[in-house]
Structure formats: structure tokens, C-alpha cells
């Protein structure tokens, strides 16, 4: 209230002070000073009366509306309801948006996975590896040409972490002939070629499972080839062997993954 201080010493009140006087905003000391001035200063009293009269006139011109005239739309109960409805509507819109996105997203994703599963042939790369390398003769198709299972095993151990032991197919007439590494989508894969005395070939195939689609154990006929595959530890394994010869049948029966315990 700076104005009070500045006029503290001047007796005659400033215009703003007169208003403050009428509005009851003056401190008691200053108010008393002005009250003391009034009897001797009729002009001051007239100014104050004029301010009072004008204020009174304005109050009379702006009567408080009757509560009965309040429109129904301004009733607090109704406004609360309106707000609630609006909030619920917003929630409903938001929920339906979330639903739509959710259905679209989840549905789309599932459809995608379904489509991929339908098109995806488990261990197709193993079969592919057989077709590319096992059919051709000659040592140039392999990285390591070794007939000693232990040499091949240590070669596998260098490239994989704790791979399963190399299968022994000697009782079916197949002996290891060499190994080869190849890149796949899921990571480095290794194939080991086995041959028998007739020059027939089977392929043992190891690779990381990949993280897109997981499949367990099973077998799949692809042309004249049978791919038998299973998961064990960190890797997926497959044996690809021809089906158009009786010599592999006992072998296939022996390693049939559906007879293995799921790991």
C-alpha cells in the first residue's frame, strides 16, 4: 500500500485515497485523519458522498439475479454429468482406438507369423546344402577332408559351442568324409558329409536355431530327400538322407526325431 505511505504526511487525501476510504481499504490511522478533516472540508465530504452515491447507484443497477432465473444448463449437477459423459465418450473413443490398433496389430502379426509358418520349411537350408554339395563328387566341396571322426569333431568344436557329438553311422555303412561351413540367415552352419561304399551320401547339419520361428522335432520329405531335424542344446540339427534307396531306411528309423525325447 505504497500510496498510504507517500501521503502519510500530506493531510489532504489524494483521489485514490478517497476511493480507498469509501471502499474501506485505508488503515485506521489514515482513516481517522480523513474523518478529522471532514467537518472543516465540506468539498471533501461532498466528493466522498458522490463516490458513495455512485457506488450505491451502480449496485442498484446490477442486482443479483434470482437463483430461480439460473438456466438449467448451468446447474452444477448437470455440468458434472456433462463432463462425465464427455470423459466417458473420450474414453470410449480412446478405447476403441486402442482396440482397433490392438486388433490390427496383434491380428496382423499373427497373420504374418501364420503366413511365414505356412511358407517356411523347417531346415530347408539343410536340404539345400545336401543338394548343392552332397550330390557332387570330389574333395573340393569340403573345407576339411577328414575321415577320422575325431578330427571332424574337433573341427566342429572350434566353430560351435558345445555341439552334440558327431553321430556314428558306421553300423549303417556310412562314414564321415568331410565338413564344410556355410553362412545361413540364422548364423554359421556346418555340414558333415557321410558316404558309404556305394558312394551314397547323407548330410549331418548343425546350425543356430535362429530367433524368428522356432520349431521342435520333426521330419519332412522333400522330393527324394528326407530331412529329419531336432533341437538339442543351443543348436538345431538335421540329417538329410535319400529315400530312394533301401540302405538308408534303417538309419532313418534309428534317428527318427519323433522317437527322441524332446530336449
Amino acid at each position: 500500500m505504497t500510496i498510504h505511505k507517500t501521503t502519510q504526511h500530506s493531510l489532504m487525501p489524494a483521489d485514490a485515497e478517497l476511493h480507498a476510504y469509501v471502499d474501506g481499504e485505508l488503515d485506521t490511522a489514515r482513516r481517522a485523519q480523513i474523518d478529522a478533516l471532514l467537518p472543516t472540508h465540506p468539498d471533501l465530504a461532498r466528493q466522498i458522498d458522490a463516490i458513495r452515491a455512485a457506488a450505491q447507484q451502480l449496485r442498484a443497477s446490477l442486482p443479483e439475479p434470482s437463483p430461480a432465473d439460473t438456466p438449467a444448463r448451468l446447474d452444477p449437477f448437470r455440468i458434472r454429468r456433462t463432463l462425465r459423459d464427455r470423459a466417458q465418450r473420450r474414453m470410449a473413443v480412446a478405447a476403441s482406438l486402442v482396440m482397433a490398433l490392438g486388433i490390427g496389430g496383434v491380428g496382423g502379426w499373427q497373420t504374418r507369423e501364420l503366413a511365414m509358418r505356412q511358407n517356411y520349411l523347417p531346415m530347408a537350408d539343410a536340404v539345400q546344402a545336401y543338394r548343392m554339395f552332397a550330390a557332387s563328387e570330389g574333395p573340393q566341396v569340403v573345407d576339411v577332408s577328414a575321415t577320422d571322426p575325431r578330427a571332424l569333431q574337433s573341427w566342429l568344436d572350434r566353430h560351435f559351442v558345445q555341439p552334440a557329438p558327431l553321430p556314428d553311422f558306421t553300423q549303417y555303412g556310412f562314414r564321415p568324409a568331410g565338413g564344410r561351413l556355410m553362412p545361413t540367415e540364422q548364423g554359421t552352419a556346418a555340414m558333415v558329409l557321410y558316404r558309404n561304399d556305394q558312394g551314397q551320401t547323407i548330410v549331418y547339419y548343425v546350425r543356430p536355431p535362429g530367433n524368428l520361428l522356432r520349431f521342435g522335432n520333426g521330419n519332412r520329405q522333400d522330393g527324394n530327400l528326407l530331412a529329419q531335424y531336432w533341437r538339442q542344446g543351443r543348436y538345431s540339427y538335421a540329417v538329410v538322407s535319400p529315400t530312394d534307396t533301401p540302405v538308408t531306411r534303417t538309419l532313418q528309423q534309428a534317428i527318427e526325431p519323433s522317437r527322441r525325447d524332446a530336449t
Binding site: T2, A16, H19, R59, S66, P76, L83
Partner: protein, 172 residues
């Protein structure tokens, strides 16, 4: 933090809100729109913003802010209309005839700028303290004092334009 806003407490204040809104908009329909917007704001932000202070002053503050927001929007809109050659509405500016007719305090009052109307309503009609009015209007208390004497002087000037009845009485 706050007492809950009961419907009854609000109902009690609504007539005063309507009067304040009417002095701002000077049209009943838009005044009630303003009150509705004010109540919606008050109830949606809810009790969280309602501090222990005077319910009436709190609602006045909300209402005045809504009014200023609306004015700003209207000004922008008027600017857009002016671009298309539509004149701004002249009915709010006092014509010569209006000023001559400003016999009553209310007519004089209605020719004041909105901020002065708000100020006079809050202090003279509603009896708010200068501090409460300053808080409601968002200005310093010194501004309240200077504006108040300016507003009352402007009203006096307008109403003194009418035939001087007191003089006649003195002569009699």
C-alpha cells in the same frame, strides 16, 4: 487442501457469477455461456485447484480468465473477418447517440472498457477487497487503485453529461 465442491455451494455462487459475466459480455446468452465454461473448468480441474480460499473469488478468477481467452479468440477471428472485408461489429463501441442516452449509471457503466467494468463489479458490487480483486484480475494492487479512480471518474464524466437537475433545485 480443499473442501469438496458441493453442488449447493456452487448453486449459491452461480447468480453472482452470472452477474459478473453479464457485466463483462453485456449479453445474457454469451454471459451464460461464459458461466458454463467457467463451471466446467472449475469442476473438471476439480478440487485439486481449489485451495482453501474464497470459493467466490476463485470462481471469479476462472471466469475472468475465460473471458479474456474468449476475447483474444474473438480478436483473432475479427482479424480474419477483416481480411475478407467483413467489418468488425460496431455495436460495442459507444455511438454518439448512446453517449447522449447514457443517463443511467448502468448505461455509463456499459461504455467502460471491460477491465474497468470487471474492477467496478468486483469492488463496488461484490465487495471484494483490493487484494482479492488484484488476484482475480491478475494485476498489482497499485494498478487496482489507479484503475479504480480512473473508472469512477469516467463514469462520473458520462453521467454528468445529462441535464443538471441539482442546479435547478438550487435555483428553486
Amino acid at each position: 487442501m480443499s473442501q469438496t465442491l458441493t453442488d449447493d455451494a456452487l448453486r449459491e455462487v452461480i447468480p453472482r457469477l452470472r452477474r459478473f459475466a453479464l457485466t463483462l459480455t453485456r449479453q445474457e446468452a454469451s454471459a451464460d455461456d461464459l458461466v458454463q465454461a467457467c463451471l466446467e473448468r472449475a469442476l473438471s480441474r476439480g478440487a485439486a485447484r481449489h485451495h482453501d480460499g474464497d470459493l467466490r473469488a476463485w470462481l471469479f478468477t476462472i471466469l475472468y480468465r475465460q473471458f479474456l481467452d474468449g476475447q483474444r479468440r474473438a480478436k483473432r477471428y475479427a482479424g480474419v473477418l477483416a481480411l475478407f472485408g467483413v467489418g468488425d461489429d460496431a455495436d460495442m463501441a459507444p455511438s454518439t447517440e448512446d453517449v447522449v442516452l447514457a443517463r443511467s449509471a448502468l448505461q455509463a457503466f456499459n461504455h467502460l472498457p471491460a477491465e474497468q467494468r470487471a474492477l467496478l463489479t468486483l469492488i463496488t458490487v461484490e465487495g471484494l477487497t483490493y487484494q482479492e480483486a488484484a488476484d482475480t484480475l491478475g494485476v498489482a494492487i497499485g494498478t487496482i487503485m489507479s484503475r479504480l479512480s480512473r473508472a469512477r471518474k469516467a463514469m462520473r464524466d458520462m453521467t454528468e453529461g445529462q441535464p443538471a437537475r441539482p442546479t435547478v433545485q438550487v435555483l428553486k
